[in-house]
Amino acid sequence: MNDLISPIIKKYKSIILILLLLIVQAYFTLTLPEYTADIVNIGVANADINYVYDIGIKMIAITVLATISAILVSFFSIRFSSGYSRDLRKMIFPKALQFSNLELNDISKSSLITRTVIDVSQIQMFIEELLTVIIFAPILGIGGIMKSLELGTSLSWIIVLIFVVIIILMIPLFKKALPYLGKFQEITDRINGNAREILIGMPVIKTFVRQDYEERKFDKVNSEYHETHINAYRIILLFTPMLSLHLSLMTVGIIFFGSFQIESGDLLIGDLLAFIQYATQIVTSFIMVSTVFTIMPDVTVSIRRVNEIFKTEVSIVDGEIDAVNTENPVIEFRNVDFKYPNSENNILTNINFKLEPGKTVGIIGGIGSGKSTILNLIPRLQDPTGGEILFAGENIKNYKLSTLRENMSLTPQKAHLFKGTVKSNMTIIDKNASDDEINKALKRANVNFIDGLDDEVVQGGANFSDSQKQRLSIARSLLKKCNFYLFDDCFTALDKNTEKIIKNNLKDLEGASILIVSQRISTIKDADEIIVLDDGKIIDSGTHDKLIESCNFYREIVNSQSDTLKDGI
């Protein structure tokens, strides 16, 4: 919660200013009825038209002043609330950027996006409402009570009474309405979900001839929405007439009880009129506060969701060491285990292997065998839950993250390009890379489809095919000069020929270690060591020729991927 409040506290001066302006606004608003009283009590009673004009001009001046102060309140509170949302976003963003899969398990990426954009906006609206409407009500209320005491009537109890009555009647109504408000969102989501399901499944629905079935299913949600809507509004709609009835009854009551004081000469007619105005203003402004209850459920959810981001402890943090011992560039897995929290099964169990200079290691296994996880552990996108990974003899957790990651180049399974140009996508790696260097990297990755380095890259690289994106992504990785190149199944999107060319070019990376993860035999077949992974365990390792002999599982994969052309002929 502290993180959410700190930007507010930092700007306490703005808040004080807004409060002062609200008091000024309330003062002017409450002065008007006083003048009405004067007009009626003095102007009309003495038939003094000039006095009436005088007061009239003063009233106009006050009206204008009240408007100006209201505008100022708007100005400062909107700047405040917009500024708050800006600050909040700037705080959320770097924090969320540090989330690893571990944290993303609890808060998904799409949820992070909604939290940063929509939830923050929701909170911003609430603060705006808070500053302009909700705080204003009690200020106006207190001022109004002071004013009506000044008038010397003993009628203020009517206001209090009406309040008590309204609150007593409203609370059970709110209690009844609130669950419906929460339910709306849930049912709307279900309607949307059902509709999406239908649209995606259209070919299946049509071929199974299940149109009626689907319509009936949709009708169920639709009816539920319909019913909830009507039931909710049956209650919600009661609010307005009930409040307006009480306001009117209050006026009637004031006139009735005021009549005794008029009779006894304690109260002048003008004062009675003024009091009616005060009472109405006070009660109306408090009714405005009740709008809080309608936005409250949404805002509480938003606050909780944003706060969750701040509360989440980032599991992967910097170590101390900021330099690598270059004499021993070896990465070693020692008895590494990995599993997700709350999960019973290990993703990886007892993984041991080494990446040595000039050697290529291949990892092969089916979908879900844990191949990519091994790779993600090296740049610490995730941390092992057991065992340790050593880099130049030191546990990788002891390095600063940036130092560790500077020393390796990972090509992800799904190529990602950033909006900009081909060049800007490359220079992300190395700001000072020359065009020659970039061209060399592009050539190595067989990027032969661009006109030049200034070719545009649209968001997500959508103007390139999957294979082209992958090649650009590989080029980016190759531009980096380092000791370790890690490829996460990134050759699958390439045709065999391109794959061959690129793999051939990898031989230029003299002295570096290469780790290739794949489910395609052809990709890793030439590796110095092939690790066969099944269900998170290394079941065998060695060269292709050795594994063909020793490993049944490996043979099965080979067989499933090679056709039996020889047998056929």
Binding site: G43, I60, A66, T67, K90, H226, V252, I276
Partner: protein, 591 residues
Amino acid sequence: MTSNREKMGLKRIVKNVLRLMKDHELKFILTGICAILSVLFTVISPLLLGDAINILIEGASNIINHTGTLDFVGLVKLLTIAATLYFISNVVSYLQTYYLVKTTSDIIYSIRKRIINKVMQMPMPSVDENQRGAVLSMLTNSVNVLEDALTSSFVEITTKLITIIGTLIMMITINALLTVTIVGVVLLSSALIAIVSKFSQKYFTKRLYAQGGTTGQIEEIFSSQEVIRTINYENQITADFNDNVDEWYSHEWKSRFLSSLNTPLTSLNSNLGYVAIAVLGSIFVLQGSMTIGRILSFFEYLKNFTDPIETLTDIMPHLQAGIASAERIFEFLEMEDEDNPSKNELEKFENEITFDNISFGYTENERIIDNFSLTVKKGEKIAIIGEKGSGKTTLIQLLTRLYDVDSGEIKIDGININEYDKNSLRSFMGIILQEIWLFSDTIEENIRYGNLEATENEVIASSHKANSDKFIRQLPEGYDSILNEDGDNISHGQRQLITIARAIISNKEILILDDATSNVDTRTELLIHESLDELMENKTSFIITHRLSTIRNADKIVVIGKGKVIEQGTHEELLAKKGYYYNTLKTQENI
């Protein structure tokens, strides 16, 4: 020209909305009566309050001049009547809004129902991948906006207008000059509001733009977090983000501030009216043309007059959005249904399916299928192979009549499939697609989708045949496990096995497997193929694939390229030909 077209649109929209309301005439009449009654009572009550004040004044002067006392009986009588009227008016106004909300939610319910019904009836090109987003946003956003417009705007506009008119009439009868002044003041500040809101529009657009840009950036970044981290790009990207957020902020507060000016300006509005009543009213009292009590009446009328105007300006944007949504919805509902003129039922499939020289393109200028011919005997397993974009999937869409051929004929037992009712044709076919579609319900219900009458035992039996029984039983909830959208509780391959079980239970004559195993690893693929073999037993089947290893047993392998048959024959025949099939196999073998 443009405005002319817009008007035509509006007219059609209004007509459509009115047609929707026709079924609810009675409720609307009831609503109307309630509205008029409620306004009537609201408008009369201030007069009574004014009269009460007059009694007080008279009483006060009587007492001072010792000519009498305050007329308590008269006062109480007036106040009682006023209180009663207020009560009735609010009860009636509740009933009015309630009826309207009930009617509009009835309307929205039936609109949703009609849209879904429409979706079901529409031809595939109107609901395929390219249209999906548009249809979905209409079903959700547009309907919500329309509902919002109908419930909040439509209800309010009618009642507020009646209130304004009623109040205006009452004010004029009391004092025309004062009324004109008030209306003048209100118009003046309304003009002011209009100017400001026009001004704010500019910033509003900029703000939307900045907001969209930042949102896009956030999406891009969060979805590529791993990449960003591994290339140590965090600091740079955070700086970019902060720049964007700063820009967003500068437009955000400006546009919000300008549009927030509405509130102080409307209250300026009512305060100026208040001053006018106090000052001018007093002058009229001095001139003897009005009583002091009427000043109070006017105060009440002012509220009744400015509040609805304020509401009306607030709901204008809702109304505009509502009209736009209504337009989209009605346009959608008027789109053409899937053409299905024939009611002839396909009774049985006995001999063969023939593709007779067919051609097809999704758009006019392309030819995905080009003079394609093929004959398939009942009980044959046909493998269709070819590169991406060669027209394999299109062929299936034509056979199932999701799309219709441009020329040529597809025949079942010699009769053009266009002669049959589409649904009856489709009920002969079972399909397994690359894009797995299961809905969020239990596994049992998902399998039963293939045959709604199937018993639990039949579901389990077919699941058994599909090799899915074992893993389903291992799930904590077994067959009652709910499949969620993310599908993280079971693997992709397992999901495909469920669709196979679904196809087995549906027991169709003709089976279509469209790249059913392309998203699973090769070992899982072998397992799935076991299940598929079970499924295809004694059926006529079409197997589309790009993996050649699994189709050797097909009765016929058809290689297509650019919509044409390149070669066909059995595995052995094609190998002997040493053509495309042979060469492709050779490269796949090359490991």
